[in-house]
Symmetry: C2
């Protein structure tokens, strides 16, 4: 199992038993996410912005307008930190102190490079569309040359990474287990609701099978 190097930068400091450094765990967390939060530094000032992400091998793909602050920072070779987080549930312990959430998070470090070669750029854009809605790329109109130029795509090579995962029931102090306080987990999940057709949609156009499948998979 491929492991990321463990350094002071990516070491999980708090509750180390929840930490993981293998690419399988980390890539599954990324694979389940639509967005990541990207951190970067300009003039000593930290910025964090949410953005769509995709993974291609050991790289994270980001895209945006060529003129955006993040894309200009990437082009200048700046360091990035990318966090991906899922909340899976609320953990209700008998004591306030042991309340927690069940979560899966990954924090990545690296730098990016623009993908400029036409075919590679199209393939990266296909990844973004397909991860939102598998099957969509071949159905929608493909990007034209103007649209391709307006979008910058960056590939961030993951130098260091860690995952942190909490699962399962609350951990209470032994003395607290006898308290008459309800304890357990309240699971959370993200679901799709019924699709809303565009007002200008031809009423004869039915929801495509790939979209129906996504909704039903929930």
């Amino acid at each position: 199992m491929a492991q990321f190097e463990l350094t002071e930068k990516n070491r999980v400091q708090r509750v180390p038993k929840r930490g993981a450094y293998d690419s399988k765990t980390i890539y599954e967390i990324i694979g389940d996410a639509l967005i990541g939060h990207v951190g970067f530094v300009i003039d000593d000032q930290p910025f964090v912005i949410p953005t769509l992400i995709a993974r291609q091998g050991d790289q994270i793909l980001l895209h945006g307008a060529t003129s955006s602050r993040l894309m200009r920072h990437i082009q200048s070779g700046g360091d990035l930190s990318i966090a991906v987080t899922h909340i899976d549930g609320l953990v209700l312990a008998r004591s306030v102190f042991h309340h927690s959430i069940n979560y899966r998070s990954a924090v990545l470090f690296g730098r990016g490079e623009f993908i400029n070669e036409r075919r590679a750029k199209l393939e990266a854009l296909r990844q973004f569309t397909e991860r939102l809605v598998p099957g969509r790329w071949d159905d929608a109109r493909q990007p034209n040359e103007v649209e391709l130029k307006a979008t910058a795509v960056a590939a961030v090579t993951i130098d260091l990474a860690s995952a942190k995962v909490r699962t399962g029931p609350p951990s209470d102090e032994e003395d607290d287990y006898s308290l008459p306080v309800w304890a357990g987990v309240l699971p959370m999940r993200q679901v799709y609701e019924d699709a809303i057709p565009d007002d200008r949609l031809d009423p004869d156009l039915e929801i495509p099978g790939y979209l129906q499948k996504l909704i039903e998979a929930g």
Copy 2:
């Protein structure tokens, strides 16, 4: 309506019409979120970590182990950027280029200070618990002195902030509206599933009303 100052740091650069700088919009986005992603800089290196957040007036409350990297950074007076993001739906346009997501995000800038005074610290911790599960604080065992000392609570004064919001249907190129491609929005939302009682829970203890209410409110 209270407005945050508009500077180059917090100005929404891409699609400015989606930007907002009033505290009402920004605080509603924060109020709907359990976690934020906090960015900070140590030795020129950006770090982004997910953490529970709460709001108290014009301050964001963060908590963690006193020895954690983030808490030590806050204590040293370091700059923070905090992003809060909700994904509300997938936006399927007729062209790949106009695919998007509906989202509400807020990005904040500021610095934090520890809350050390006992009563203020307890009140801050109450906010964290109550925002996870309203009604929980009075039901669970309150923090003892050891637990209070182990937890650091920081209040981050929001110096600058912006919101960015996308809602509604796709915007397609006029020529594309006649394409036979399904277009519209696939709404997403986070839901609670059935509560899982702790294995060691007294079977006579029923789910409390405040928790049932939270589950039903979905």
